[in-house]
Symmetry: C2
Subunit: 344 residues, 2 copies
DNA sequence: GTGAAAGCGCTAACAG
DNA sequence: CTGTTAGCGCTTTCAC
């Protein structure tokens, strides 16, 4: 029976969290042995381990990872920063990344930065203050201050979502320009000559739609309208943007939206006004949200393998963390492709 | 000029993270003074503070919150566990809660538990191992082991989403039964006599739809079908469920879906098959997702004030954390109401 | 207003 | 395989 509570007047049950020494005392071993049972069970004899495990259960011991982290200088935690998890690609990346890291014994600390870059530096400071073993961060446009802070943390960093020319460290993303060009090519091959875009005002979305418009123009196409709405994208914004474009919808037009949410709004509005899709208006979205596949009509979109990206990112991080493999480049272009449906 | 790097061969720039003693040395003060400048600036004379701040900036010092937490026994971090953030109510709660806590100097560590209760205990263990100062957790159905672990952490706990009869500590939620009854009442008042439900198979969703059906029956109504689909809800599942119900849709029917996503699917399928909404089929969803307001036709739904819930939860936690106010009950019923639109 | 000493709970490193 | 010693980087406590 454990003599619980070293406190001066330990009459009640121990309210202080039980610590490793309590477990050690109860099990009749040294604290270090308890630590080994938890972290490196192979290095403890089965009988000893059994005793210790019994003590752990009896006391309901929850190891203080804070103390362990301070001592070992490894927090067994990685920080992840994404603007939103509402976007399926981010959701997939984060989910897959989290799962893969968990299997390897790491916990992911998720932070949503939103689309404003205002206090991202402050966020990073608190995050890095907890000494994560690695950092997963979306977007490649960081302030100089942020970049310096990250660099000085001396931890593996994976930037996702964007392909940057000056990655801080490792990179898992795709070139948003390529998306625009690919979609333009797709429409051009179908004989389209009139084009339009609806885009959120975040840099990546703009890049996708801008490159689309440029590619369409250089192929001799006409761009009849480019609506820009405030991020985050909403159905409503898509509807409104299409409503504004309506007067120009006098001939067969190919519309590229920076998000499936906008595309759905556009299609909804078109249907309401009797604009035939895809005959008069062909629509391609981006993201392959469930909406694109399950709404009626289902619409064409660009799908990005978020799950694969998360897997790759976790692999990069773990390789660095466990020191296996050479410190290779750690760059990966996430595949994307057009999923053709009834709207084109 | 700082003599950086206490290492044996400090020829390169200091790769080791700068620590409080480095700052103290550069500023010509004791480490304790640096600590005060960071945590309790009022207790330091302005000139000293200025010197220290300069040193902090010069070295790019990022305080080690791990060490600070170990020492002070306060991590300045609270853990939040929700099944998903895909649901707008959870998203709102988390967002508002996070913002409110941030203002008070706390960081929120977000974990997604998913809908499976399989490894929630393991998740809790790692979470609590980091010694959060408080815990926000969705759902009130916890395993005994989980409840014990949480209780032994001796930290403020807020359960959200559910109203439980045996709250661990504080509670911000609503009775899902009430929702079902309210929606039933709403339909009954409109003269409906035939009812149906489509529900995800998570306990709360089932509770909402089940109570709806019960209330409808006890008022003399007929329940012609109750579809249950696997969580998480999808548009597709809603469509499929409605398709299966179609043979029974021979007379005016009121359908309650456990999620707007399902409701949207049902309405989409109905439209496809020429079933007039709301004339033959009246539909009410749950959640007030943007989809419900911006799709065409917009549909009636139940809205829950997630943002308010997050605010209240943060208030509860902070009151406990800062010791202000009495250790009062800390229970709050989140308001919900029906938003009537074109589908009913 | 500032500093010195002690220690938070754990693990690295070394002994045995 | 197990134990001992020292210390992670910070804050508490107490002294000045």
């Amino acid at each position: 029976m454990p003599s619980d509570g070293p406190g001066p007047m330990s009459i009640e049950r121990p309210r202080a969290p039980v610590k490793i020494t309590d477990v050690a005392t109860l099990a009749g071993v040294a604290p270090m042995t308890v630590s080994r049972v938890i972290n490196t069970p192979d290095r403890v004899s089965p009988p000893t381990a059994a005793k210790v495990k019994a003590a752990i259960d009896a006391l309901g011991y929850v190891p203080n990872l804070i103390a362990g982290g301070l001592s070992s200088r490894r927090s067994r935690m990685v920080a992840a920063v994404v603007p939103t998890i509402a976007h399926p690609m981010f959701a997939d990346v984060v989910q897959t990344f989290t799962d893969a890291m968990r299997v390897a014994g790491y916990q992911v600390m998720l932070s949503l930065s939103g689309y404003g870059e205002n206090d991202k530096e402050a966020l990073l400071r608190t995050l890095l203050g907890r000494r994560p073993d690695a950092l997963l961060i979306a977007g490649a446009a960081h302030t100089p201050g942020a970049i310096q802070m990250i660099a000085e943390a001396h931890i593996p960093v994976v930037e996702i979502w964007d392909v940057s020319n000056h990655p801080i460290d490792m990179l898992v993303g795709f070139a948003h320009e390529d998306v625009g060009q690919t979609v333009a090519r797709f429409f051009l091959d179908k004989g389209h000559t009139r084009f339009a875009t609806i885009s959120a005002d975040d840099p990546r979305a703009l890049q996708r739609t801008q490159t689309f418009a440029d590619a369409a123009r250089s192929a001799g196409g006409e761009v009849i309208g480019q609506a820009v709405v405030k991020a985050p994208s909403t159905i409503r914004a898509g509807r409104h943007a299409l409503a504004c474009m309506m007067p120009d919808l006098t001939a067969r037009t190919a519309l590229f939206c920076s998000s499936d949410v906008l595309a759905f709004g556009a299609i909804t509005e078109a249907r309401l006004h009797g604009i035939p899709v895809p005959d008069l208006l062909s629509v391609c979205g981006f993201g392959n949200f469930e909406l694109s596949a399950a709404s009626e009509p289902a619409f064409t979109t660009v799908t990005v393998e978020g799950a694969e990206a998360g897997q790759i990112a976790a692999g990069f991080v773990l390789r660095r963390l466990t020191g296996n493999g050479p410190r290779q480049d750690g760059h990966w272009h996430v595949p994307f492709r057009i999923v053709e449906r009834a709207s084109t």
